[in-house]
Structures are given as structure tokens and as C-alpha cells.
């Protein structure tokens, strides 16, 4: 729609060439207001900027954020947009020191935020020029920069105004580098050191001593002990503390602490094997304002643990994923805590109807409940949940296999505010779906491996849940075109659909889905009836498509790829394994400049030279999954060259697999579960 309007304007402009440009009459403010609203499709802004010179200039002036694809274009882009404050380089796999120097010289003081979390090949020098030239830099994301060393950290320390710094997985940075940052970046409010295995107590302690403004501290998986805790707990403004997987901290050291941290609001102590409720209660003593507590994969949930949480009057969210749970513990949680809004018991062993029912009846204000894989619960629990927690907005209950199909009717009747519902691998049937369709706010519905549902149930969803953005029908084998048609005609906002292994799906489903203009993720693995025609329809209709999975759609060939290459300029990830695409199709995909991720296994028509040409032509590739046979068929320097360009190869050595019957697959899964 927008595009067409724009085209008309464009034509008008051409016809009035001799006259004064009408767009000059628009004030800057109006153009800016228009630009503010153009944020659904990234291409819209670009089209808009091509209307005329003045609009082009205004658009250049207006743009504050930029997400470039390749580092080669950086000098030109940055020249065009002088007021960039946020630079997201997560689509550029390759950013070298020269690029960083170019950025720092072009953006200067306007740059406030830069994301280098997905980029490699930069080092100390580039960061130094960035830190010295861009004085107003506030956010720097260096996550995954596994090659960076202390010298680079010392360069970062030159950015004196830095407030947020992510260093996750910077494994080579040691205390020395962190020490430099602690001394240099006094204004730090957030620092994430997750997986920085070289950082010990000394570095963390220095951060806590020097950076008094810290609000958020992520120390997950650091080899730290209790030595750094006293100074951390003295941080006056600390709100968010994550210590996931800190095995060096134990109960004894925590009980030795005299006072907890008063300002703490969110605490993550997941996977801390050596901490029980004893140490925990010592740590959170005095933290009366604690709102969120995550104890996933930690100590068993017993009455003692619940008792230690008794004084936390502000506690709203408790996550106990993967913990051993006793019914008494859950009961005590119900009695001790005031009123929870969010509770996660995902994959907890020992959750029974008795425990869960007594818990949910005490917390009637619960908004989010996660009982994924609580395999022992039955209809009784669901009855209690639905009667007590009428305000529930999110319910995740994947694989609660003992819950009968009648129970889902209750959910639909009583929890009408649900926005997110995960019913993967459950016994729900069409009656259940009909009931659930009353949840008019539903935006995410997962019905994977629900073998009892059919088009009839799905039609109810399509009719009533107009806000649906996400629908998962993975291996719900009874679904056919009729169901999809109902969804496509009712849910115009659909962004993601997965209908893998719904073997009866044909092109007509895809043609109907092409009306969903916002669709960005489309997965239809193992739908043998889909042909290139359907893909062409999706390509033309869904311009925002970023992820496409058509593995094992044997009838899709090069004719499907050509429209994709032309229309799906936002496509970033494609899985083509077992399809009938050949060299020509793959090469045509190379014209999609965004394309980063490609899985091409078992393509019969693909020759080594065709693959080589496609790989070379696809300049933005970051990850390619290939069959190991190609490794020897293609020259080694080719791969070296592509790797230098920032592409990672994953070699697979799987045999060509015949398709399993979906029902037999489900039975197999059930056998595996003890």
C-alpha cells in the first residue's frame, strides 16, 4: 500500500519537474513526523528518501539509528547520515580496525551506542580510536569478542562516559583489562561479564570499588568466590545481580556476610550448586525490595527455602526452573510469599497436583505461569489454575501429557486475558480450541504436536483471535489448507507461522498466507505438496520475510528461488535442504544482500562450482551449513577466503534421511520419556 502511494508521488514529482519542487514546501517537522511513522518495513524509509533531493537530505538528517550490512559501505553510509547516534553492527560479521576508525572519525561525538556483538576482526587499535574520538559513547556491546585481550579492554577504558558495557564471552580478558575498565569508566551502570573466564575476584572487586554507579552486574559463570562479595554488596545502587553458575560461592561464605544488598531488585542465582537456602537467605537479608528471584537449577524447593523468602514483601517473580520440588515446598511458597505475578516451574521434578493447586490458590494475581514438562499434573491442577488465576496472560504448559482434553475448555472459559499460550504436545482437541478462541488478546499460540486438533478448531482461532502474531502447528498432522485459510483470513498481523510436517498443506495455504504482510518467519518443513508457486506467492506477498525454512519440500525448485531473490530483500536465513533447488536457484539467492544464514544439505542439483559461485556472490554470509563432501570438492583457498570475509562453515555428515510417519515419531518420543 505505502509503496504504491509513494510511487504515485514519485510520478507526480517527475511530471512537475519544471516547476518548483512541491516537497520543498513541506516543513522539516512534517517530514520528520512522517519519517517517525515509517517503521514497519525498513525499505519504506529508503523509498521515501528517494522521492526528491530535499526529502533525501531530510531523511539523512532525521536518521539516528543505523544497522549496516557490510563494512565496505560504511564510509559512504556514514557520510550520508551525519547524526547517527546508535550504530548496530550485528549484521556485519566483519568489522576491522579500519572500519572502526572510519566510524569514529565520521560519527565523532554524536555516536552514543555501538553494537559489535556479532562482529569480529577488530582489535585494540579500532577500539582505541572509537573511545578517543567518540566521547559521548554510552553503550558498547562487545559480547562474543573472544579474541580481545586486555589491551583492548584498556582501550575501552578510554571511553570515560561509558555507562553500559557488555563483555559476555570475552574469554581472554583478564583482571588486568577489567581493572583498566574499572578505573577508566567511572560512570558504568551496567556491566556484563558473563563467561569472561579470565576475570576473578580481584577484577570484580575492583569494579565494585571503583564504579559506584553500578546498577546491573552480570557475573555469571565467573570463577569468583566470596572474596568479591562484600564490596559488591556495598554498591549503593545495585539493582540487578546475576550470578548464574558461580560454583565458587557456597553457603559458608555467604553466611559470613554481615549484611545483604538493600537496593537489590533482581537476583539470579541459577545453577549455583553450592548454595542452599541458608546462603541465599543471608544474601537477600535486608533486600526488602527484591522483585525478581531466579533460582533455576539450584537448591531443592523445600519449606525451608520458602521460609527464607518470607520477608521479601516486594517479590513478584520467582523462577525455579529445573529444581527439585516437593509438595510441602510449593505449599510453603504459597503461604510465605505475598502475591506473585510470575512463577516458573518449568522442568521441575516433583510438581504434583497437590503442591501446585495449593500454590496457585494463594496467588490469585498470577500473570505468568510456566509449568512446562510438569508431567505429573492433571486436570485438577488446571482446574485450580483457571479458577484462581483469572488474570493470567501467559501460560506455558508444554508436555503436560496427563492433562485431559476437557481441561483445556476450562482454560478458555476462565482465563480470557491470555496473550501467550503454549500447548505444545498436549491432548487439546477442537473443543478446547473453540473455548480458547475466546481469548481475544491471544498473540502467541503454540499447538505443536497436538494430534487431536483439526481445521475445525483452528477455524475458531482464525475467526476470533485477530491479534495472533505467532502460530506453531509443528507436526499437528490433521491440519490442512482449510485451517490455514481460516488463520490467514482472520489473523492479518501474523508474523510467524510454523506448519512443518503438516503433510496435507498445499500451495493454496501459502497463497492465502501471502495476505499476511507482516509475516517474517515461515517454516514448512516436510510439506511435500508445496511447490515453487506457493513460495512465489509468499515472496511477493510477505516482503518482510526474514526466515524461511523449506527443508524437505521436494517440489520446490529454482522457480521458487527467483521470486524470492527479487521480492524478499529482507531474507536473512534460508534452509533449502532436500529441496529440488539447483545452482541457478542458489545463485539467484545471492542477490539478496541481507542473506546471512544458509543451510544447503542434500541438494541433488547442486554442483561444486555452482555452490562456489553462490558462496562468493553472497557477500553477507555469516553461517553456511554444508555437506562434508563439498569440503574436498572445492578448493581450500576458497573456504579460507570466505572465512576471512566473516563466514563460518558448519560441516554435516548426515545420511540422506527418509521421512518418518509423524505418529510413529510421536510414539518414539513417548517411549523415551521415563
Amino acid at each position: 500500500m505505502k509503496r504504491q502511494k509513494m510511487t504515485i508521488e514519485f510520478d507526480d514529482n517527475n511530471s512537475n519537474k519544471s516547476n518548483n519542487n512541491l516537497f520543498d514546501l513541506l516543513s522539516e517537522e512534517i517530514v520528520f513526523a512522517i519519517l517517525d511513522l515509517l517503521n514497519t518495513n525498513p525499505l519504506d524509509r529508503k523509498s521515501f528518501s528517494l522521492v526528491c533531493k530535499s526529502v533525501y537530505n531530510l531523511e539523512s538528517k532525521h536518521r539516528k539509528t543505523l544497522k549496516p550490512l557490510r563494512q565496505e559501505h560504511l564510509p559512504r553510509i556514514l557520510n550520508r547520515y551525519p547524526h547517527i547516534s546508535h550504530l548496530d553492527l550485528s549484521l556485519c560479521p566483519r568489522i576491522n580496525d579500519n572500519s572502526l576508525t572510519v566510524i569514529s572519525n565520521a560519527c565523532k561525538d554524536s555516536l552514543r551506542s555501538i553494537d559489535l556483538s556479532r562482529s569480529r576482526f577488530f582489535s585494540y587499535n579500532g577500539l582505541m580510536s572509537l573511545a578517543l574520538n567518540c566521547k559521548n559513547l554510552v553503550d558498547v556491546d562487545l559480547s562474543n569478542a573472544t579474541e580481545l585481550r586486555d589491551a583492548a579492554a584498556a582501550a575501552v577504558a578510554e571511553a570515560k562516559n561509558l555507562e553500559r558495557l557488555w563483555l559476555g564471552r570475552c574469554k581472554l580478558i583478564t583482571d588486568m583489562g577489567i581493572g583498566c575498565i574499572a578505573v577508566g569508566c567511572k560512570k558504568l551502570r551496567l556491566i556484563s561479564l558473563k563467561w569472561c573466564l579470565g576475570v576473578t575476584d580481584l577484577g570484580v572487586d575492583l569494579i565494585a570499588v571503583k564504579c559506584k554507579e553500578i546498577r546491573s552486574l552480570d557475573l555469571s559463570y565467573l570463577p569468583i568466590t566470596n572474596k568479591c562479595l562484600p564490596s559488591i554488596l556495598k554498591l549503593q545502587y545495585l539493582e540487578d545481580l546475576a550470578m548464574e553458575g558461580c560454583f565458587g560461592i557456597d553457603d559458608d561464605s555467604l553466611t559470613a556476610l554481615k549484611h545483604g544488598c538493600k537496593s537489590l531488585k533482581r537476583l539470579d542465582m541459577s545453577s549455583c550448586q553450592n548454595i542452599s537456602y541458608v546462603g541465599l537467605s543471608s544474601l537477600i537479608s535486608g533486600a526488602g525490595g527484591l522483585e525478581q528471584l531466579t533460582l533455576a537449577y539450584g537448591c531443592p524447593v523445600t519449606p525451608a527455602l520458602a521460609n527464607s523468602l518470607k520477608n521479601l514483601s516486594a517479590l513478584q517473580s520467582v523462577k525455579l526452573d529445573g529444581c527439585m520440588v516437593t509438595s510441602a515446598g510449593l505449599k510453603a511458597l504459597g503461604n510465605c510469599l505475598i502475591s506473585l505475578r510470575e512463577l516458573s516451574l518449568s522442568k521441575c521434578l516433583g510438581v504434583t497436583d497437590e503442591g501446585l493447586s495449593s500454590l496457585v490458590t494463594k496467588h490469585r494475581e498470577l500473570r505468568k505461569l510456566d509449568i512446562t514438562c510438569c508431567r505429573k499434573i492433571t486436570d485438577a491442577s488446571i482446574a485450580h489454575i483457571s479458577s484462581s488465576c483469572g488474570n493470567l496472560t501467559s501460560l506455558r504448559m508444554e508436555s503436560c501429557t496427563l492433562v485431559s482434553r476437557e481441561a483445556f475448555v476450562l482454560i478458555g472459559q476462565r482465563c480470557q486475558f491470555l496473550e501467550e499460550l503454549d500447548l505444545t504436545d498436549n491432548e487439546i482437541d477442537d473443543e478446547g480450541l473453540k473455548s480458547i478462541s475466546r481469548c481475544s488478546k491471544l498473540s502467541s499460540l503454540k499447538l505443536g504436536i497436538c494430534l487431536n486438533i483439526s481445521d475445525e478448531g483452528l477455524a475458531y482461532i482464525g475467526m476470533h483471535c485477530s491479534k495472533l502474531t505467532e502460530l506453531d502447528l509443528y507436526r499437528s498432522a490433521e491440519i490442512t489448507d482449510a485451517g490455514i485459510l481460516a488463520i490467514a483470513s482472520g489473523c492479518h498481523d501474523l508474523e510467524m507461522i510454523n506448519m512443518s510436517y503438516c503433510r496435507d498443506i498445499t500451495d493454496s495455504s501459502l497463497i492465502s498466507l501471502s495476505k499476511c504482510a507482516r509475516l517474517n518467519t515461515f517454516e514448512s518443513r516436510g510439506c511435500p505438496l508445496i511447490t515453487s508457486l506457493g513460495i512465489a506467492a509468499i515472496a511477493v506477498g510477505c516482503k518482510q520475510l526474514t526466515k524461511l525454512d523449506i527443508k524437505k519440500c521436494h517440489n520446490i525448485d529454482d522457480n521458487g528461488m527467483l521470486p524470492l531473490a527479487h521480492f524478499s530483500q529482507n531474507l536473512r536465513q534460508i534452509t533449502l535442504s532436500y529441496s529440488s533447488v539447483t545452482d541457478v536457484g542458489l545463485l539467484s539467492l545471492a542477490s539478496i544482500s541481507c542473506l546471512q544464514n544458509m543451510t544447503v544439505l542434500h541438494l541433488k542439483g547442486l554442483t561444486p562450482s555452482g555452490l562456489a559461485a553462490a558462496l562468493l556472490a553472497c557477500g553477507g554470509l555469516t553461517k553456511v551449513k554444508l555437506h562434508v563432501a563439498f569440503k574436498s570438492l572445492l578448493p581450500h583457498p576458497l573456504f579460507e577466503h570466505l572465512e576471512a570475509r566473516g563466514c563460518v562453515f558448519e560441516w554435516r555428515d548426515k545420511q540422506f534421511q527418509a521421512e518418518l510417519d509423524p505418529k510413529c515419531w510421536k510414539l518414539q518420543l513417548e517411549d523415551m520419556i521415563p
Binding site: C180, L616, A617
Partner: protein, 492 residues
Amino acid sequence: MMDHMDTLCQETWAKSSSSGNELAKNIPTKKPSFTNYNLDSHQHQQKWEDTSIFGIRTDTPFQEFNPQSETQSLLPSNPNDHIKIVDRKNSQINETLQINKIPDWDPRAMLNNLSFLEQKIHQLQDLVHLIVGRRSQVPGQPEELVTQQQQLITADLTSIIGQLITTSGSLLPSVKHTLSATTPPLGQLGGILFPSGTGMNSRLQRQHSSGTKVSDQSNQMDVTGNYGTEQNYSIEEHEMKEEDDADEGENLPPGSYEILQLEKEEILAPHAHFCTICGKGFKRDANLRMHMRGHGDEYKTPAALAKPNKEASSEPVLIKRYSCPFAGCRRSKDHKKFQALKTILCVKNHYKRTHCDKSYTCSRCNTKKFSVIADLKTHEKHCGKDRWLCSCGTTFSRKDKLFGHIALFQGHTPAIPRDETKGLSSGPSDKGEENDVSNKVGSTNYSFGSSDATGSGAQNIMDVKVGVDDPASYFSPLNFDTCNFGGFHEYP
């Protein structure tokens, strides 16, 4: 009386570091004592508080004092003149200072001060009379009572003397109150003792001598003080432990040891023991003795093989001390502040460290040089291993110490070793490589340009887009067209 005077003297020295010149005036003396006041007395004063030096070097010859006693006799004995004398001395020290101060001189104030002084001197006189009286009256008093009284009296004495000093100090036209007010009495203090000593008995005579020694010792002490600073310098310079300085505090009486001096060649010779028959050299005497066995049966006797020192130990041996052959060295016996070296090893190490080139360079850091190989080995043990460096230049052998240091001080930051930054700065340059990319890509463009064309021409817009998506413009960064907005994307 003698004991009393002793304590008196010592206390006054210790407490006020000086004593009243008027004290001398009061005590009927033939020889006024401020004659001692000379340039040296300035130096005395600096070290005066350190009473521990008394008694050191009791064997110092008296001769050194003689010149001073000569000057003493030459100086005028009139106590009233003392200010002038001081003045004169000051003028000798610093003429300009005096010139500056002359206009400030107020005769009226001077008179007031003088009368005050007179009063105080009378008080002092009475006090001393009292002491003398006590002595004569109660000879049989218990020791404790006597000492108590002495302490009381000396306390009074000190306060009066203190007042005297300040007043007399203000009389001086010199600005340097601290200097002028305290130095003259100091010099005279030695002098006080002379008269009192001469008048009494032979024991006092000793007192006299010790008094002279005070000045003499302070001379000596000054010297050692200089040594101290010298030593500090040398430590800073060499940054190593000077083994040969370990005997600094040793105080052997002169003549109680013999001084040996090896020649430079001997010191630097790799071997110290040589076979008298074949001339082969050995580092150790024991090795030489083992070697000698080969030269005949006479060397195989237990006596010949035994450690030679053992036999000699029966008779008292003069302790051996060593001198450095380097002229002007403080370890040389010709140096007037000579400090002997204890052993031959000390001599060797001293000579190599101080007077030889540092020929051994550390192979790790390539900066540190040593002349003694043992020093190099000691250094190499620590060099490069866990050197934790702060931006202020301080190094630490332990990381936690460095971090404690950084936590303590503002603005200090860990210093990253230079080799790490070097390694990174020479990172892979990709200029050539990138050109390579575009070249290769350029060659592949043709192959799929044709297949591309089939689907074009759908809409007006598409025409534009095809132009935009022209692969040639995509993959050659040099040929970047303004219409080409495929280069970036934003996801709001």
C-alpha cells in the same frame, strides 16, 4: 656531684638540645666556653638529639680536639661580648644575612631583654647554689632521694634555661632565630663542662675529656650520617643488596684487625688458589689440595689434606679485614671514612659491582645488567615472571597486591604489558584481501546476471529495484551508487 653533673648535662642535651650560654656566665670560670662555637657546632646541633651516639668510639684519639682548644684560648672571655661574638660568627657564616637584619635592630627592646636575662640569670644562680648547698649539707642522704631532688632541680633549671634561650635568641639581630637561638648555647654546653671539670678532681677530668669528645663525636657522627645518605644513593642506583655493606655497623677498635688489600688482578682472577708445581688455578683451596695429591705422596697425608685453618685456630689470630684497591673508594683503606670489607668474597663482589662494567645482561628483559653473575641469576628468577605493573610505574610480584594498590589510589590503573599491545597492533591487514574479494566476486557476476534478468520488470518499483540490486554494484565496493541502499538496513 659528678653523677649529678652527668645527668644534668645529658638531660639538658636531650630535652632542649641546647643549654643556656648564661649558665656559663654564672659559674665562675676561668675560661668561658662559648669559644667552642664554630662552624662545627652547627653540625653538632643537627645530630644532637641522637644521644645514642655517646659512648661510641671511646678510643678516638684526643688529638683531634687540640685545634679546638687552641681556638678556645684565642677567643675573648668576656661573657657580655658573646652576642657580638655570635654576631661575628654569623657574619662569617653569612654576611649578607646580617646586613639585611641591621635596620631592624631596636636598642630599647634589647635593653628590656637584657634586664630580663639578668633576672633569670640570678634565679639560675640561686638554683645552682642550692644544688651545691645540698651536696655539702647532706652527704649521707639515700641515693634515691638525691636523684629525686636532682630531677626536680634539673627540671627547674631546664625551664629557666629555656626562657633564657628564647630571650637571648630574640636579642640577636639575625632572622634565623632557630639557628642563632639554639646554636650558641649548644657550643657552649661543651664549654660548661670544661670549667666545672677543671675545678674538681681527676674524675671530672674525664668528664672534661668526654665533653670534648662530644663535639668530636658529633663530627664523626656527621660523617656516618653522610655515609647513611651515600649508602641510600648507592642502593637506589644499583637496586641490589650490597652484601659488602652489611658490616656497616661493625665497629672494630683500630688495630684489633689487620687490613689486607688484594690487587685488582687478584680480585678479578677466576682462580684464587694456584698449584705451586704446575700452576693450575682453582677457585677453592680444597680443590687445590685434592689436586696436589697427584703431585706426590707427601700431599696425601692427612695433615696435608686437612683444612689449614684448623691447626692455626689454637693461637689467637688477628681478625682479617679487607680493603678495596680502587683509589678513592670508601672501601679503600686510604679513604678517611674507610669501611672495611669482611671477606674476600665481599671484596670480589664489591669490586665487580662498583668498579667493573656490568657485562651480564638479563636475557629476558634485555635491560638489566649485572657485573656479578649471581646477581643476574637472582634477577632472572623473578624477571618477567608475574610482573604486575601499575600505571604509576610500581611493580608487584603478586596480582592481589597490585589490585589492592589500585583500589587504594585514585587514577592508578593496571598497566597492560607492552608486548600484548604490540601483538595486537600488527593485526591482519585486510586491504589486499578485500580487493581480492571484489575481484573474485566480479568474475562470478556474469554467471548469474542472466538468470537474474528473467524475473525483472514486474512493476515500476521493481525496475528501480533491479537497478539497485544489480549485482555488479553490490559486490564492488568501489562502484557504490547513491541509489544503492542495500548496503544498510534498519530494524526499528
